[in-house]
């Protein structure tokens, strides 16, 4: 596998959410707003890149039988670091993500990449793998959150001042709003249905590719 393939595989071919169906809790829970999805992506990026590099660096000295507990301790340490940095510099985001920051420890993609890739490959390849994987994951997170926030509230608000609202954009008055924005999409039920549809559409595209080949 070339470095380029290694980097690109996380975006579509082995996309952790849409194709491998790993780590589905976070994309369901924290995608109510784009802001949360961006924050989560940043945390995952920090943790996955560092954990892949560290685990790849220590892979030769870790005894095989106890590798999983060691990986978990490395990951938990990084997540605790991320938790503290977040609480110090972005307190409001850290509050709205809540316990989902610490649940990154048990996010399948982190341990999954450690076990499936970083424990078998050198540091550079593991770094490239981590960056590709986490970017692919983050893009899907952000996509879901954009769909949910627009359908749920009619607009997007990021960090308070960067915002737009379709109702204002088309000069709709309070009693003449667009009828298709519903709070439903922000509720858990909406999350499940949108993720289900996205994975289904990804399957449709993947099937077409197979046919044309």
């Amino acid at each position: 596998m070339t470095k380029r393939e290694n980097f690109l595989k996380g975006f579509w071919k082995e996309n952790q959410i849409l194709v491998s169906l790993l780590g589905l809790c976070a994309p369901l829970a924290i995608t109510t707003t784009v802001e949360n999805a961006l924050g989560m992506s940043a945390i995952l990026m920090f943790v996955l890149i560092l954990s892949n590099v560290i685990i790849s660096a220590i892979r030769k000295i870790v005894p095989n039988q106890i590798r999983i507990p060691i990986f978990i301790v490395v990951i938990a340490t990084l997540v605790t670091l991320a938790e503290m940095i977040m609480a110090a510099f972005l307190p409001s985001l850290s509050k709205s993500l809540g316990m989902w920051i610490s649940l990154v420890v048990v996010n399948c993609i982190i341990l999954g990449r450690a076990e499936a890739f970083a424990s078998k490959n050198n540091i550079l390849d593991s770094l490239i793998d981590a960056i590709g994987m986490v970017l692919g994951y983050a893009l899907v997170l952000i996509l879901i959150s954009i769909i949910r926030e627009i359908l749920g509230t009619g607009g997007i608000t990021v960090w308070g001042d960067l915002k737009f609202n379709l109702n204002d954009l088309f000069n709709r008055s309070e009693d003449n709003k667009f009828p298709f924005f519903s709070h439903f999409f922000v509720t858990p039920a909406g999350a499940y249905i949108i993720l289900g549809l996205l994975i289904g559409f990804a399957n449709i595209i993947n099937r077409k590719k197979v046919v044309t080949k």
């Binding site: 169906l21 790993l22 780590g23 589905l24 809790c25 369901l28 829970a29 507990p69 978990i72 301790v73 938990a76 340490t77 997540v79 605790t80 938790e83 503290m84 316990m99 610490s102 649940l103 420890v105 048990v106 996010n107 399948c108 341990l111 509720t187 858990p188 039920a189 909406g190 999350a191 499940y192 249905i193 993720l195 289900g196 549809l197 994975i199 289904g200 559409f201 399957n203 449709i204 099937r207």
Partner: protein, 193 residues
């Protein structure tokens, strides 16, 4: 704390604040092992066992060690180690003492370590708002909610696997959409409690 308050806590943990459908904890086993009823029940029972035990232990550790020494920031690391070793101990204990039970839920035990429901529940109850009794009730009721939902869901999936589902949506996508419909129904229990 009166009996009524405890019952309210328990019922809202099972139905309204359902661990899967409202909190999104434990979605991986929910989708992973729900294709057969038998395995869903096995997983559900194992989850009840582990979540209840680990949450009560986590609460105790938080209350008597982490909080008094101002080490709340260590919670994630401590809890994950507690959970991992607890699962290992339960596995060894069952293998030796109750082999029949081990056979039916043994294979699900290692999977539970990475079930975010376990760490999530430990994090939820390990706060000063809970005491020993309420943390027990909360974690037990939540995991019963897990069993309830995964059981209903597995029955639905056995049916829908034979249904006329478009090919790209077979399996996980249709299961997620079905979970969405179930979440809608469970959200309506708000009026009951």
């Amino acid at each position: 704390m009166t009996l009524g308050e405890i019952l309210t806590l328990a019922f809202s943990a099972v139905l309204v604040e359902n661990i899967i459908l409202s909190r999104f904890l434990g979605t991986c086993p929910f989708l992973g092992v729900s294709s057969k009823q038998e395995s869903a029940v096995g997983m559900g029972l194992a989850v009840i066992f582990v979540i209840t035990l680990s949450s009560v232990i986590s609460w105790t550790l938080f209350e008597f060690i982490l909080a008094p020494f101002a080490m709340g920031y260590m919670a994630t690391i401590v809890f994950i180690l507690v959970i991992a070793s607890l699962v290992q101990i339960i596995e060894m204990f069952l293998k030796k003492v109750v082999p029949s039970l081990y056979k039916s839920m043994g294979i699900y035990l290692p999977l539970i370590t990475t079930n975010c429901g376990v760490l999530g529940m430990a994090k939820i109850v390990a706060t000063p708002e809970y005491n020993l009794l309420t943390s027990f009730v909360m974690s037990f009721a939540s995991s019963v909610g897990f069993l309830l939902v995964i059981y209903i869901f597995s029955s639905l999936r056995e049916k829908i696997d034979n249904g006329p589902v478009p090919l790209p949506f077979k399996g996980v996508p249709i299961a997620l959409i079905m979970a969405g419909l179930m979440a809608m129904i469970f959200a309506k229990f708000v009026g009951v409690i």
